[in-house]
């Protein structure tokens, strides 16, 4: 299987504090990879490094075939990013947001038009294209935020707690989108505090105090810890 992320001996220090302590892991193309851990375990630090926003102290990180330190800009063209807190501009319209992201990702104007129409149609937002984001219901916003994050057909999309505080129906509809993207070959790298969502991942890693303590499929981990669900696995490791 093709590796989309390769991390070898990644270390990140802030002064004397070791936020990431010799991390080693791979993520395969098309898989849904759950990146779990307690608060302060070092997840955000790793995510920032994988996205090219922060440089590792030492170690080797390769994303979508490029070295994250030497070829940062090339990596950025191959990845999408979405967080729950901030993804769309509330005071721009649906159309303007799509245009903005298409521009940021350097999509040519011809392709942009096509993508715009396909996307508006797919999301059934044709009649709402000139509405401000702030006027949209949460479920629509989420769909749109995810769609613009993968507008440039990236190899991998990073989702940082995309469903925090979201109602149970919208949360599940969002996972429908994740399943669909993964089904279409996009690798999904996701963080969450909902342990039922950890069950939807092909594989998960669990971080604690800067180290990856466990990595495997939910089925493997539950067997290993004789646990009923991922909640029990997580509590076992992080406590």
């Amino acid at each position: 299987m093709k590796k989309i992320i390769r991390v070898k001996n990644l270390v990140k220090k802030f002064g004397s504090f070791v936020a990431n302590d010799h991390l080693n892991f791979d993520v395969f193309q098309g898989e849904i990879f759950g990146f779990l851990g307690a608060n302060g375990a070092g997840k955000t630090t790793t995510m920032r490094i994988l996205c090219g926003l922060s440089a590792p102290t030492s170690g080797e990180v390769n994303v979508a075939g490029f070295d994250i330190v030497r070829e940062t800009e090339k990596v950025k063209r191959k990845m999408g990013y979405m967080s729950q807190k901030f993804s769309l501009y509330e005071d721009l319209t649906v159309r303007e947001n799509i245009q903005l992201y298409a521009g940021i990702y350097g999509i040519s104007s011809k392709t942009r038009k096509e993508k715009m129409n396909t996307l508006l149609k797919k999301l059934e937002l044709e009649n709402a294209q000139n509405k401000l984001i702030s006027a949209l219901p949460l479920g629509w916003k989420q769909k749109l935020a995810f769609s613009v994050a993968i507008l440039h057909d990236p190899a991998i999309v990073f989702l940082d707690e995309p469903t925090g505080g979201v109602d149970p129906v919208t949360r599940r509809k969002f996972w429908d989108l994740i399943f669909e993207a993964s089904h279409n070959g996009i690798t999904v790298f996701v963080t969450t505090h909902y342990m039922d969502e950890a069950e939807y991942c092909d594989r998960v890693s669990i971080m604690d105090a800067g180290k990856i303590e466990e990595l495997g499929s939910p089925v493997e981990l539950k067997e290993k810890y004789h646990a009923q669900n991922m909640d029990e696995v997580f509590i076992h490791i992080a406590r």
Binding site: N39, L138, G164, G165, D167, H183, H193, E199, F234
Partner: protein
């Protein structure tokens, strides 16, 4: 009404065109641990702010221990401790200075009420000279809780204390709340995590400014009289798609490692589902009847 700590009657509140609360009524008994369960934008914070005398309702009435929130502001503020959703302490004061400040404002001392906060505060006491802004998330939360308790309130109101908090810290936080409840404090807490409903004596499920249901968590699931199958197969994505396409399906939602399925009028039999999924080439099919969770109840009330 006898012996109620909080009585909310028909409260409505709008912000311009947005209806934040629509005829909300509930009551909370003394010593109760009461949960307000709902997603972002449901109206949880608005209701809490009204109870905390920080916001006036457009109509309706709220009484806290006999005092009206629109009239007896000073009395109410003395008897409630409030921990807002956003960290609201003074970032440039130290841990100890923040605590002393809140004690002084309420005309008391840290020493006088130390017994109440000891279990929580001792964990951050080693950092008492650190500025609040420099604390980690978990420590900030413990300091905020200590400050909310330092005047020995009758009622503690916490707005989403566990949002963005990992599963382990959430368990520890609920343990802390239960200890406070044992000391006789009435607690109103909001959360978007449905599973946390089970930690409360009673909960109100709230969505789009309306209360969907109020009851004990046990009753909520017990009174949910529908037949739910939990179903698993090798490919989750296709399983959900195929079940939704099944002509007798009413609702199909992912629930962790299973999909929860409800058939129209609860008429669907297990054997039918097995046959159907087999014709769709699913492998390793597991189908069994299961008990509802709070999320099943919430989803059902949301979509009907």
């Amino acid at each position: 009404m006898i012996n109620l700590m909080i009585v909310v009657t028909n409260i409505t509140k709008s912000y311009h065109d947005t209806l934040a609360l629509h005829a909300v009524s509930l009551h909370i008994k003394p010593g109760e641990l009461f949960g307000l369960i709902g997603p972002d934008g449901a109206g949880k914070t608005t209701l809490m702010r009204i109870l905390m005398t920080l916001l006036l309702p457009d109509s309706g009435e709220a009484i806290i221990d006999g005092a009206n929130v629109g009239e007896n502001i000073k009395r109410i503020r003395q008897m409630v401790g409030y921990m807002p959703g956003r960290f609201s302490l003074y970032q440039d004061l130290t841990v100890e200075e923040n605590l002393t400040f809140f004690a002084t404002v309420f005309g008391t001392t840290v020493k006088e009420n130390y017994d109440l906060i000891r279990d929580i505060y001792y964990q951050i006491e080693p950092y008492k000279n650190r500025r609040a802004g420099k604390l980690s998330g978990g420590m900030k939360q413990k300091l905020a809780l200590s400050c909310a308790l330092i005047h020995r309130p009758k009622i503690l109101v916490l707005d989403e204390p566990t949002t963005g908090v990992d599963a382990v810290s959430r368990i520890e936080f609920w343990d802390m709340l239960k200890k406070l409840q044992q000391k006789g404090i009435t607690i109103l807490v909001s959360t978007p995590y449905m599973d946390e409903a089970n930690q409360c004596n009673r909960v109100a499920l709230i969505q789009n400014g309306k209360i969907l249901e109020i009851d004990s968590p046990a009753n909520l699931t017990k009174n949910f009289s529908r037949k739910i199958f939990r179903i698993r197969s090798k490919n989750m994505f296709l399983l959900i798609q195929d079940l939704r396409a099944f002509q007798k399906s009413e609702s199909v939602f992912a629930f962790g490692q299973f999909v929860h399925f409800m058939g129209i009028y609860d008429q669907v039999k297990k054997i039918e589902l097995i046959d159907y999924l087999t014709t769709k080439n699913h492998e390793n099919i597991v189908i069994e009847e299961t008990k509802p969770t709070i999320e099943d109840v919430f989803i059902k009330r949301m979509i009907t």
